[in-house]
Symmetry: D2
Subunit: 158 residues, 4 copies
């Protein structure tokens, strides 16, 4: 499938009042403008805002849902996958992506970052988790000062 | 998500030499022409032929893959979901569909039909499984004499 | 793990009023008496009766649950796995088994039989599904006249 | 299932040369001596050492495997569940546990901690991850100075 578009996952908190809605909207728009597919978890907060940004720019969005019914989708998306796997959908989302953009920082996002690192998928972070362990030195994510930079690097490096 | 397009899954054997390639190609084309999203398992045989039919007609195709890497995809698809779930991806595929078109009859297809029936998702079959049990009378699938009829009923009834 | 005990899955309808409760109880008891681990879906009906039969005989039972919380278990079991995968837990259940005993015939059971056949895991059936397709001749399961025979063959052949 | 034993997951790095083998072995032993079921990922490193500790003390161990075949198990375990879900098995492992003991710190362990926190399952850590985000103040895990303390709190609080 050499001609398939890149797939970029945007992960972040699902809080409908997230302070990162504008950043997420920009991320979605930039991904769409680059001709890449936006993958999100399909629910509220960062997921919804990113999806709206991409759709407004004419992009293709796929929602990888935790629920077992596609009608559970909140974010606008042409393709809706009902994994029915609960939190395990985070793994399906991440492993389907060429690169991950992580915005903000709740526990679901942390699980997505961790899985991406485990699988060797690059993660570009904006105002997200930092973590250290006795066994893993170095940055948890490629921290980016702007959302534009995070998306540009995800599109280039993913 | 009232304006999201319908999603129709086409299931069938993965044999690259399947006798049902032409039927699958027609199914993919008809689904695309109706503006619905085609969902397949993303591999060879019926999946690949249906995807080719939909793509040739300008349709949107999502591959719901058994493997853990999107590069495992064979069928043409704009969206590729790496479930990493092996045979359990059949469940994710089926539960994401408004209706299922089952073509031909290997065991994976039978599992998809069974899950769809369990979940109450309509299944329209073309040259596929028949099954009976002491506890379940009636047809396993809505058997259709032509692939055109199967798709039309899936689009109408899904 | 050469010394790990065999694992036998007993699948069947979840109807609390199943006509197969006695057969399931016998199956559970015989599996326990053979020193094998009983795997079930952990819910009502055949699953519960088989688990009761095994526990009463001092056997080890693991419930592979569809839900996301171990407290959803109904059948008695020392080990409870909350797959959170809904119907996809059927795949996890089957692929963990050395052999499957299928009792009775609802759609979930049919999906388990189909997955087992796909994966090459032997299935011994008692009053369960029959199925045919244009592409698959032969029996769907090894049909057994008695539950004792089904379990004996599962223990021997699994 | 009021009389079912507690289930405690021990998570940690899979490196066969892990520096935490002795701590893991102690954890397994203490869990077994308390009559609880030990859940692990069934592979090498911390998983294997914990399982050995529990088995040597006569405990019940269940391996929740990433692979699709029970023969992929490394750690000793009476029950082996082949999730076939890859990294998503971490979610199944965690959500089946009353409490999690996290030892050491690789990325898989971080994903397990994150999922547990998301699901509200208590996590007791020994020489494991610390993490902060702009949105989540407070400790990532309940950090414990000794493995004995981590297990005692998991058994009490889980």
């Amino acid at each position: 499938m050499t001609d398939a578009p890149k797939q970029i996952a945007v992960c972040g908190d699902g809080d409908p009042g997230t302070p990162h809605a504008e950043a997420a909207r920009i991320a979605g728009r930039l991904i769409a403008e680059a001709g890449a597919v936006l993958l999100t978890g399909g629910m509220t907060g960062v997921m919804e805002a990113a999806s709206e940004g991409a759709r407004a720019a004419g992009g293709l969005v796929a929602a990888v849902l935790p629920g077992s019914d596609v009608s559970s989708v909140v974010a606008p998306a042409q393709v809706r996958i009902a994994t029915g796997a609960g939190e395990a959908r985070n793994v399906i989302l991440v492993r389907s992506a060429d690169a991950v953009v992580a915005i903000g920082g709740a526990y679901g996002t942390l699980s997505e970052i961790a899985v991406a690192r485990k699988l060797g998928i690059p993660v570009f972070g904006y105002r997200t988790w930092k973590a250290t362990s006795p066994a893993r030195a170095g940055q948890l994510v490629e921290a980016c000062a702007t959302i534009e930079d995070a998306v540009a690097r995800a599109l280039a490096g993913g």
